[in-house]
């Protein structure tokens, strides 16, 4: 077990959806301001900003790289470093690990991590084409018509082949996420959804139907990481970073040789060992989704279903409101919306929100320990992070 060095002390988020009149800068500043105020801090208390990458606008991404947030947030001549951290969908876990490392090394005291993007306001085909080149080899895969929905579909087929998971069980993942999203005012999709409606939606890439494919959205979120020793003086409900494990398994999907598992078993083992917290003590699973297969695969790898195959576990309602293991209570990318790199950040920020006791109508009672997962590109890497209200 590792001695805890860092904690999250403030969070901010703007609603996710299609907001063509809300600039990425506006959303970023709103989320940062909310996170700093949530922590009870001022701008000059922050010594490092870690913005992640924005995909929709190169112009805004350049702003992020070149310290625009520092100046707009009033941190000129007090901020020590502004440095972009980008790992696609795995940015959530990765940026948290970088912030923790800087703090553990004594190189930073308070780190502001932020994402903002507007991929939801891109024309539909531009969105498809953008994500058909993220982790998809232009030489070896794109010429065959590979694309992001196909990434999800190819993994789903292999997972179903190896586990016997049914199409109805996949649809049940979408339904459980929707039930949580209906309680989340920041979610893009908040109307009831049934397994039958998922099954009746248009086939996109077998076996994935339209309602099993995420919708691109605009969004922004931010959080403040502080030294663990300062955390209780800053926040009434700090969230301590207890353990992290990860494994990069491929760049191109076609090079992955274990597409039904990826690196989740290895990442989970490392994270549990570092945290000194095992799967039996996990009360909330904030699992990166994007497509229904990934939560199932992640739950299996994390050992969270008590020996039940993940598909059956979800279909039985165990991850929905009222179930034994609340999962991705913001609604995930399938219902809150997929903001690009930020889909995972929203999943992570919801873990903080729940552990801080600020999740409103969807608050999980008596929460102490949670797990968060992430993966980027074509699920090139598997990340597992253990979070707790208690330090070690």
């Amino acid at each position: 077990m590792k001695k805890t060095t860092a904690a999250v002390v403030g969070i901010g988020e703007v609603p996710t959806g299609k907001y063509p009149d809300r600039s990425e800068l506006d959303a970023a500043l709103t989320a940062c301001r909310a996170a700093i105020l949530d922590a009870g801090l001022g701008p000059r208390d922050i010594d490092v900003i870690l913005p992640t990458g924005a995909l929709a606008s190169r112009h805004f991404n350049v702003d992020l790289v070149f310290s625009r947030l520092c100046e707009e947030l009033g941190m000129n001549r007090s901020l020590k470093m502004n440095c972009q951290v980008m790992a696609g969908g795995a940015t959530s876990s990765s940026i948290l690990a970088v912030a923790e490392g800087l703090i553990a090394a004594g190189m930073a005291r308070r780190v502001l991590c932020v994402h903002s993007d507007a991929v939801g306001s891109l024309p539909k085909q531009a969105g498809i084409d953008l994500f058909a080149t993220t982790g998809v080899s232009e030489e070896w895969e794109a010429p065959y018509g590979h694309n992001m929905n196909a990434v999800g579909a190819l993994a789903t087929q292999r997972y179903m082949h190896e586990t016997g998971t049914t199409e109805e069980e996949l649809a049940a993942v979408c339904v459980a996420l929707r039930k949580w999203a209906m309680l989340n005012p920041h979610a893009m999709f908040r109307t009831p959804l049934t397994v039958e409606e998922v099954m009746a939606s248009k086939m996109v890439a077998t076996p994935l139907r339209a309602k099993e494919c995420n919708m691109l959205a605009d969004g922004a979120a931010a959080f403040v990481v502080a030294a663990a020793g300062d955390a209780r003086a800053i926040s009434e409900s700090p969230v301590f970073l207890r353990g992290h494990g990860s494994l990069v398994t491929h760049y191109t999907l076609s090079q992955e040789r274990d597409l039904a598992r990826l690196g989740f078993p290895e990442a989970a083992r490392a994270a549990y060992a570092e945290a000194g917290i095992g799967p039996d003590a996990i009360q909330l699973a904030q699992i990166y989704d994007a497509y229904p297969v990934w939560p199932l695969m992640s739950l299996d790898g994390l050992g969270l279903c008590r020996g039940t195959p993940a598909g059956a576990f979800v279909a039985a309602g165990e991850t929905a409101p009222g179930g034994s293991l609340p999962m991705t209570t913001n609604g995930g990318m399938l219902s809150q919306g997929h903001t690009g790199v930020g889909g995972g950040i929203a999943v992570l920020v919801e873990a903080f929100r729940q552990l801080m006791g600020k999740a409103g109508a969807r608050q999980v009672a008596g929460l102490v320990n949670a797990v968060e997962t992430a993966s980027g590109g074509t699920w090139m890497d598997s990340h597992v992070t253990i979070l707790s209200r208690e330090a070690a």
């Binding site: 010429p143 590979h146 190819l154 086939m203 996109v204 890439a205 339209a210 191109t252 597409l259």
Partner: protein, 140 residues
């Protein structure tokens, strides 16, 4: 919006022999002359021993479907007219994997584990030839 053509591979210095072989209707993979590792897709050097002495060797052109999907809607630009098309990861009998399309008789009914044989398809309006796969027993 103007219709975009489908993306074509832009060969690198070290992958050019692969694409030339495809134009000659041959499927080749790399072999490391230092450690005998079989490599696909072509690399700048061996990912096992970092040796730079790689050679292209003929592949049998047979293998099995590791996973697949039939794209029915929402394709990337340039693929609209191909719908529905089958995208697959093929595990070649040499042990290496590659992405390709399943084409020909029965392609839409192909399943994981099915045996496949390489064929070659010229991309319309280009001199690019893509290795594609047919189900074994497809009468071509």
């Amino acid at each position: 919006m103007t219709a975009q053509t489908r993306p074509l591979p832009q060969p690198s210095a070290w992958s050019a022999p692969f694409w030339q072989a495809a134009r000659d209707r041959r499927l080749v993979i790399q072999r490391c002359t230092s450690c005998d590792e079989k490599i696909m897709y072509p690399r700048r050097f061996c990912p096992v021993c970092l040796g730079e002495a790689l050679e292209f060797v003929p592949a049998k052109g047979t293998g099995e479907i590791y996973t697949l999907t039939t794209q029915m809607a929402g394709p990337p630009s340039g693929f609209e007219a191909m719908l529905p098309y089958v995208l697959a990861v093929i595990r070649l009998d040499e042990g290496v994997q590659m992405m390709s399309n399943i084409v020909g008789d029965g392609a839409l009914g192909a399943r994981i584990g099915d045996r496949v044989t390489v064929d070659f398809a010229t991309v319309e309006g280009s001199d690019t030839v893509l290795p594609v796969f047919r189900l074994a027993g497809d009468g071509q």
